[in-house]
């Protein structure tokens, strides 16, 4: 087995036993990147020099007999909207293509303390707005299962990197499904933690009431290990929750006896690929076999979740992206002769079409005369969506759904924005209610991975981790490797 195909926990044991060195491992990853990156295009920026320096440091620590953390010396990839001091952070946007952060995101600080290794920054939909990674200013990322297909998004580069053996683990961010959907499209594990679990400090804001950072990994154990490092309250983010962070690896037990699993019927609606549904139903059967109690439940406001999201998220984005004015950082049009013209031209040339669409949509729903009809209404419907979950969680412990109604589709697929937005129906409600959700591989349809989503109560990542771990240990899906097939 290749080093680049292993998990964090396997490699940690090998590092501790001195069977491999971190430098050797890091070089193996860059060799793999050298071999497949021209096909996959997962990265925007690589940082080999600093990565190897850090690897040498960890090797010295091990040689000196020091205890090392589980992520120490293990190479990962960071989505390019997470601020890394001294390392270019672009959000895959022209407007930030020369931006070098002067501070680290809170999650990066935590990861550095654990002596981990950053291979580079991964491609994404511009400002995380999209679900294909096709809105990136720089390049299209390809799905490692079939290079003619999308990797999903917006954390498509992070997911493709892990899936293609170009990173052992990765960070993404999830505003409406941007970790879970690409995890499902790439046959890996992805978690969106409870809103407030992870500090958003240094994650370039898209929709502040919805954004959360989380891990993309090869198995559930690795996801728990990354969560252990990135979770926790942070004085720099007043929305990070002042609650204890458990050791998530303690939740990894093979035990779902008596666990009450709800199947929300609205998440299997008419847009669902029957082959995807079939895999989820087989997973439900598996859970029954393993001793869980499975029941159909209803979240009646689900059909309103997508449009509610596409009012709230653009509204927040229109305010957050107002900071890109060409004055203090980012791209500037140098020909403008007045400051207002400079701002307008810089933004118009710096942002791509999807970002412009959402800024304008957000501006519209917040504008005088439309605020009550759209924005306030959406915030009220958000309350109803959350209440649906509160009700359902009186009856069950976790919910099981498809992560996406479809498997990864062709890169050439032409869909209008609304059609693409509708495919977020299974992930968006989770962000609206601030709940934790995990996607894990549960089968295949048309040769592409299918992901199932487990949704938990607020701050109850442990139960979804336990349910995910139990399923994973009882199945083989997480052991399949992306073949880099297709002809791109």
């Amino acid at each position: 087995m290749n080093l680049y195909d292993k998990t964090v926990h396997e490699l940690h044991e090998q590092l501790k036993k001195k069977e491999i060195s971190s430098v050797e491992l890091t070089n193996a990853l860059y060799d793999r990147i050298g071999a497949v990156e021209d096909k996959v295009a997962a990265y925007v920026t690589l940082d080999k020099e600093n990565a190897l320096k850090q690897a040498a440091k960890v090797d010295e620590m091990i040689a000196a007999g020091q205890d090392i953390k589980p992520l120490a010396g293990i190479p990962g990839a960071i989505k390019d909207n997470i601020s890394t001091k001294g390392l270019r952070t672009t959000c895959s946007s022209h407007i930030l293509d020369n931006f070098i952060p002067v501070y680290d995101a809170h999650v990066i600080e935590n990861l550095r303390k654990d002596e981990t290794i950053f291979l580079g920054k991964t491609n994404m939909d511009e400002f995380a707005m999209g679900s294909t990674t096709k809105t990136s200013y720089f390049k299209m990322t390809h799905n490692a299962w079939n290079l003619n297909r999308v990797p999903g998004g917006s954390s498509g580069g992070s997911a493709a990197a892990v899936s293609a053996g170009e990173a052992i683990w990765a960070l993404g961010s999830d505003t409406g499904g941007s970790i879970r959907q690409p995890a499902s499209f790439n046959g890996i594990v992805g978690i969106k933690p409870t809103y407030g679990r992870v500090s958003r400090y240094g994650c370039v804001a898209f929709a502040s009431s919805l954004d959360q950072i989380g891990p993309l990994t090869r198995d559930v154990t690795d996801a728990a290990l990354v969560l252990n490092t990135i979770c926790g309250v942070d004085a720099h983010d007043s929305t990070s929750l002042p609650v204890d962070v458990p050791d998530f690896t303690k939740a990894l037990r093979q035990d779902v006896k008596g666990l009450r699993i709800g199947l929300p019927k609205e998440f299997f609606g008419k847009g669902t690929d029957p082959k995807v549904k079939e895999q989820i139903m087989l997973a439900a059967e598996k859970y029954k076999e393993l001793g869980a109690e499975v029941m159909e439940v209803s979240l009646p406001h689900t059909e309103y979740a997508v449009i509610t999201y596409y009012i709230i998220a653009p509204a927040e984005a229109s305010a957050n992206l107002a900071r890109f004015d060409g004055v203090r950082y980012g791209y500037r049009n140098k020909l403008a002769t007045s400051a207002p013209e400079m701002t307008k031209k810089s933004r118009s040339e710096g942002f791509g079409a999807e970002v412009k669409r959402r800024i304008m949509l957000g501006t519209y729903v917040l504008s005088s005369g439309y605020y009550d009809a759209y924005y306030k209404k959406a915030m009220q419907v958000r309350t109803l969506i959350k209440r649906d979950f509160d009700e359902v969680f009186k009856k069950c412990d976790v919910l099981l759904t498809p992560t996406s109604p479809v498997v990864a589709y062709s890169l050439d697929e032409k869909m209008d924005p609304l059609t693409i937005y509708m495919l977020d129906v299974t992930t968006i409600p989770v962000n609206m209610a601030g709940l934790p959700g995990i996607s894990i591989p549960c089968g295949f349809a048309d040769g592409m991975p299918v992901g199932m989503q487990l949704i938990g109560k607020a701050l109850d990542e442990e139960t979804i981790l336990r349910a995910a771990y139990t399923f994973e240990q009882a199945t083989e899906f997480h052991k399949a490797y992306a073949p880099l097939g297709g002809d791109k």
């Binding site: 020369n98 931006f99 070098i100 002067v102 809103y195 407030g196 009431s209 004085a235 007043s238 929305t239 929750l241 406001h301 059909e303 309103y304 449009i307 509610t308 009012i311 229109s318 107002a322 004015d325 060409g326 004055v327 203090r328 950082y329 980012g330 791209y331 500037r332 140098k334 403008a336 002769t337 007045s338 400051a339 400079m342 307008k344 933004r347 942002f351 412009k356 669409r357 800024i359 304008m360 949509l361 501006t363 519209y364 504008s367 759209y374 306030k376 209404k377 915030m379 009220q380 419907v381 309350t383 109803l384 959350k386 209008d416 924005p417 609304l418 937005y421 209610a433 601030g434 607020a458």
Partner: protein, 95 residues
């Protein structure tokens, strides 16, 4: 039709964006498609429902007002597109 090209032009202006004449029909059509779909929200009775601005049980998080080191002036200027006398340089604002 919910919005016309004129409306889109106005929204673009509020957003500090320029939309070219070639792009205008596309953006207008897409806005209409999305906003017409938003009509389904009229089916939901939200009388007396409080809006959810934040999902968290937090309100006005306070901390001690202590002086702590921040980003230095030099660092803050590092990504500036144009600098003059240690400040951000922009084209003339007032004629």
């Amino acid at each position: 039709m919910k919005v016309t090209e004129k409306d889109v032009r106005y929204i673009a202006e509020l957003s500090r964006l320029e939309i070219s004449e070639e792009e205008m029909p596309m953006f207008t059509e897409q806005f209409n498609q999305i906003l017409e779909y938003a009509d389904i929200l009229e089916k939901v009775d939200t009388t007396g429902i409080e809006p959810t601005f934040s999902i968290l049980p937090l309100y006005n998080v306070m901390r001690e007002d202590e002086v702590k080191p921040g980003v230095s002036h030099e660092e803050a200027m590092k990504n500036a597109p144009a600098v003059h006398n240690d400040g951000f340089k922009v084209p003339r604002v007032i004629e």
